[in-house]
């Protein structure tokens, strides 16, 4: 039961840099403090002029409440000021339904089905053209 819980305050989400894109992978139940720390970390990392995109992978997140929703929106707004684009990737259906019901449709946020797709959206061709290509069956 306690195995998945984040450690209090010590929890920090790593912000990875792949080429000119920042990649943030959220997992499990996020502590408010951790989310706020993340917001700051991303803003600082995005201040680097060579960063032109931020990808936030939500595929491992089971719940997004209005607090985390607002953190995501704030990250997007801040990075936009720094001329970088934020894409939220892999949101689960149950989370999406709940956010809409909550009234948070996050209109300013770009979204993608997966991290791979998000990187492609950000013009990730320069990173690695074969990265995460989905299996393509000829119709």
């Amino acid at each position: 039961m306690t195995g998945l819980s984040p450690s209090p305050y010590g929890g920090q989400v790593p912000v990875l840099r792949i080429g000119d894109v920042l990649l943030v992978t959220l997992q499990g139940d996020l502590h408010d403090g951790t989310a706020e720390q993340l917001q700051q970390d991303v803003s600082e990392a995005a201040a680097d002029s060579r960063v032109n995109g931020v990808v936030i992978d939500l595929s491992g997140v089971e719940i997004v409440d209005s607090f985390l929703g607002r953190v995501l929106a704030d990250i997007a707004a801040k990075t936009r000021l720094l001329a970088a684009e934020t894409v939220v990737a892999g949101m689960r259906p149950a989370v999406a339904i709940t956010l809409v019901e909550l009234g948070l449709t996050l209109p300013g946020l770009r979204t993608a089905l997966s991290t791979e797709e998000a990187l492609r959206l950000l013009g990730g061709a320069s990173i690695s053209p074969r990265y995460g290509r989905t299996r393509q069956e000829s119709p």
Partner: protein
């Protein structure tokens, strides 16, 4: 506590019944195995019926020992719910009515009562009456527990079937790589809209679909609740990274939507399923051409 000791003191009737049930567990289980409730369900082997009877007797003994004869929430009854209620539920599925099952549970009482009276024959009349009353109360509570569980099981069954029907009525079709569609036919109510929403969003993940088409050509009317559900589906799909297109809005429905004051402005709409597919294909970078250009063979 030894039997000699018990004879000396005046033991509470509930305790007495509890001790009796524990002591006579085997005999009662054997008798119950032939009762209609157990016999008809465990046709495979009589041992199984005896085994089930034993578990129920033990549970009743625990309830009696805790002196909670009239309390359906007593811990011991959880075992009964698990054991006997499942038995009763399969009887119910086999076509028995609830009142039949109630009668069958009631039929478990006489053989136990008979044993109890025989066991207590040496004791005072007053004590025997108290103990038989206690046993009757206990068996009454048992019947209540079984019936309550049956009703719940019945409701769950109906609910499950209702959901299954809804799912059957909501096929998701993969139209192309990365494009799924749900052709909706018939009246949409709130429950069905909910299922449509969840089914469509799940298929977006499964098929890795960037486009989802909700075709409502076959839907006669749309009320404001359903229109809201459609809009929520579109918004949720967008959050997941997919685009949802609503196609086949018939003029009458468009009129209704306008009358209801609902703004579908943020929703991508197309006149027909074909138009929606063409749009999705174009967005994916696929061009629809009349014939294959020269030299476009496999490389």
């Amino acid at each position: 506590m030894s039997e000699q000791e018990a004879e000396g003191h005046q033991v509470a009737p509930a305790q007495e019944v509890g001790d009796f049930l524990r002591l006579r567990r085997e005999q009662i289980a054997q008798r119950w195995a032939d009762a209609a409730l157990f016999r008809t369900v465990f046709t495979v082997s009589r041992d199984e019926a005896v085994e089930a009877g034993r578990a129920v007797v033990e549970a009743l003994a625990a309830v009696a020992a805790a002196e909670r004869l009239e309390d359906p929430e007593a811990d011991g009854f959880n075992v009964v719910r698990d054991q006997l209620a499942r038995t009763a539920a399969s009887r119910s599925r086999a076509g028995s009515t609830n009142s039949q099952i109630s009668t069958e549970v009631d039929a478990l009482r006489p053989p136990v009562l008979e044993l109890l009276v025989a066991d207590l024959s040496a004791r005072g009349e007053e004590h025997v009456r108290e103990c038989t009353t206690a046993l009757t109360v206990l068996m009454g509570t048992l019947r209540m527990v079984v019936l309550e569980t049956l009703l719940t099981a019945g409701q769950e069954l109906i609910e499950r079937q209702r959901l299954q029907l809804l799912e059957v009525a909501t096929p998701v079709i993969k139209l192309w790589e990365g494009i799924v569609a749900v052709p909706l036919i018939g009246t949409l109510d709130s429950a069905r809209s909910q299922v449509v929403m969840e089914t469509l969003l799940d298929s977006i993940v499964e098929q890795h679909a960037r486009f989802a088409i909700l075709d409502i050509t076959g839907v006669p009317t749309v009320d404001s609740l359903v229109a809201q559900h459609l809009m929520k589906t579109v918004a949720a799909a967008r959050l997941m990274g997919a685009e949802c297109i609503v196609s086949g809005i018939r003029p009458a429905i468009a009129q209704t939507i306008v009358h209801l004051g609902i703004d579908l402005g943020t929703v991508m709409t197309r006149a027909s399923l074909a138009d929606a597919l063409a749009y999705a294909l174009r967005q994916q970078g696929a061009d629809i051409v009349a014939h294959v250009p020269d030299g476009a063979g496999p490389r």
